[in-house]
Amino acid sequence: MSILDIRNLTIELETSAGVVKVVDKLSLQIAEGEIHTLVGESGSGKSLLAKAILGFINPRWRITADRLWWRHYDLLALNPAQRRLVTGRDMAMIFQNPGSYLDPNSKVGEQLRELIPAGELKGLYLRRKADRQTRAERLLHRVGIKEAKSIMDSYPYELSEGLAQKVSIAMAIAHNPKLLIADEPTTAMEPNTRAQIYRLLAKLSASQSMSILMITQDLTSIIPESQRISLVYCGQLMEAGPTNTVLTKPAHPYTEAMLSMSLFGQTAAPKTRLPTLTGAIPTLQHLPIGCRLGPRCPYARQACVNTPRLSKVKQQEYACHFPIIEVASDD
């Protein structure tokens, strides 16, 4: 049973060049306690999708969807106040440069204490204050920070990026959210720190049945425990399915290309030329019609000027007229 259910979400932006469909009929389902990886290059609309779920919406965007449901709430039907109540209670988000999302003016401890839900505290002033402190410390312990006292007494600039990301995860889980959206949390981090963050997220997801929507740029940064993966290109869903099926038996040319472009350590001999998609990612003003991968796709044919519909083989979904796998034999 999916707790987040998105069907045919379309986000249109009004630009000087007219209305641009930045996200085009994107579908996404997340089950409870699942880690879902969303992979997309820059300009794929992955961050916009996250913002649309959370409701950080610019009035100039036009958001339409057949379904945008969170548990039993229809998010598009709620008024802003109700929506804020629901998302504020159930969802949280962490960002790419953790250091820059923390308030540089106050100490980590103050920022953490501020986030402890006041409704859960009991007693009078002093008791509440002490309670806040212990709860904040416990939060830091939960994200694997041992010397909680000294971290709480330091300013964000004093923390390394790994620590800052752990602090921002601690802040995100302060009110026990049901869904955590992680927008490229480990880009430009070293492998060691990155592995720590992944282990932490996987542990949190397993122990509290928290769903995680993990947004990344390439296939080298996937949480090992991720159950499902979706690949997005220029706002269109290319392929979605169980992580290991998609990575081992890709149906879509885009997945295949992404795999060979990030996995080349095993497939290509050193110093040989890498297989790439030709050309560059199209800009918003010049999106191709039909399948947006068309101009760069090695298998593109005439039919690709029409947008392919989402086909489903077992649990694997793909939007392509000429998929790589044999579809007929599987059915």
């Binding site: 430009a188 990155r194 296939l219 080298t220 890498l274 790439t276």
Partner: protein, 271 residues
């Protein structure tokens, strides 16, 4: 035959001054000796604060070494002689947009490098810039473009053009591939491999992507807290790493990820 680049006991200390008392010495790089042959690629890996960027900056001349000397073709490189150094050693930065001047056209930025390093007339400069733009896969039309009009991949190509325009012997790249999209990154890697073959440039790059390092580098240098941990050819480092840190840094993330994903899903199907 002399080596192309030779570092002899190069080190870097910073002095942390507190008030008027004599300052505390902070070591960014302990004395390091290193040689590099023509056309070779050296990858520098390490954790943050390991001094990997310091080495890149010292070689490129952005910082002056506290002790030791750097020799290029057996000739001492004077830390203050930028003209000598900028002709032979060029640097590429991580954020391509921020390392380009937003107010001038691509053509002018590229000819500035020629203005400083050569005695070409403005006609010749123009021709040379056009030729270099073609070499890196851009069009002569891009001469008149401003940096913001290009995509991130094209911006990185301009940065590479600015590096190769004076026929250097060494290019130093500090995390030049991190912020690029996978498809663009593969294109840039191909471009660098092509250029290296054509012009026999030596390439020194700082990276923490094991995939790229394995693919591109001839030699790998592993740093930790300003000290050299291990140095050797890519082959030996991959097959027989001596240190735990080397093994950790060179393990390929995705491989583990795929195997982990496969095994975890197998276990779920069995349940």
């Amino acid at each position: 035959m002399t080596k192309l680049l030779e570092l002899k006991n190069v080190s870097k200390y910073y002095v942390h001054k507190d008030g008027w008392l004599p300052g505390r010495k902070i070591c960014a790089l302990e004395p390091l000796t290193l040689t590099l042959e023509r056309g070779e690629t050296l990858a520098i890996m390490g954790e943050t604060g390991s001094g990997k960027s310091t080495i890149a900056k010292l070689i490129a001349g952005a910082e002056k070494p506290s002790t030791g000397e750097i020799y290029l073709n057996g000739q001492l490189l004077d830390p203050r002689n930028y003209r000598q150094r900028s002709r032979h050693i060029r640097m590429i930065f991580q954020d391509s947009l921020r390392s380009l001047n937003p107010q001038t056209t691509i053509g002018r930025q590229l000819s500035e490098a020629l203005l400083f390093n050569t005695t070409l007339t403005s006609e010749e400069q123009r021709d040379h810039v056009m030729l270099t733009l073609r070499k890196v896969g851009l069009l002569p039309d891009h001469y008149h473009f401003y940096p913001h009009m290009l995509s991130s991949g094209q911006q990185q190509r301009v940065c590479i053009a600015r590096a190769i325009i004076v026929d250097p012997q060494i290019i130093v790249a500090d995390e030049a591939f991190v912020s690029l999209d996978p498809s663009i990154r593969a294109q840039i890697i191909n471009l660098i491999l092509d250029l290296q073959e054509d012009m026999s440039i030596s390439f020194i790059f700082v990276s923490h992507s094991a995939e790229i390092v394995k693919h591109v580098a001839d030699k790998i240098l592993i740093m930790h807290h300003g000290k050299l941990v291990e140095f050797g050819s890519t082959q030996t480092m991959m097959l027989q790493p001596q240190e735990q840190l080397t093994r950790l840094l060179l393990q390929t993330d995705l491989q583990n990820n795929v195997t982990a994903a496969t095994s975890s899903s197998h276990s779920t199907t069995q349940e």
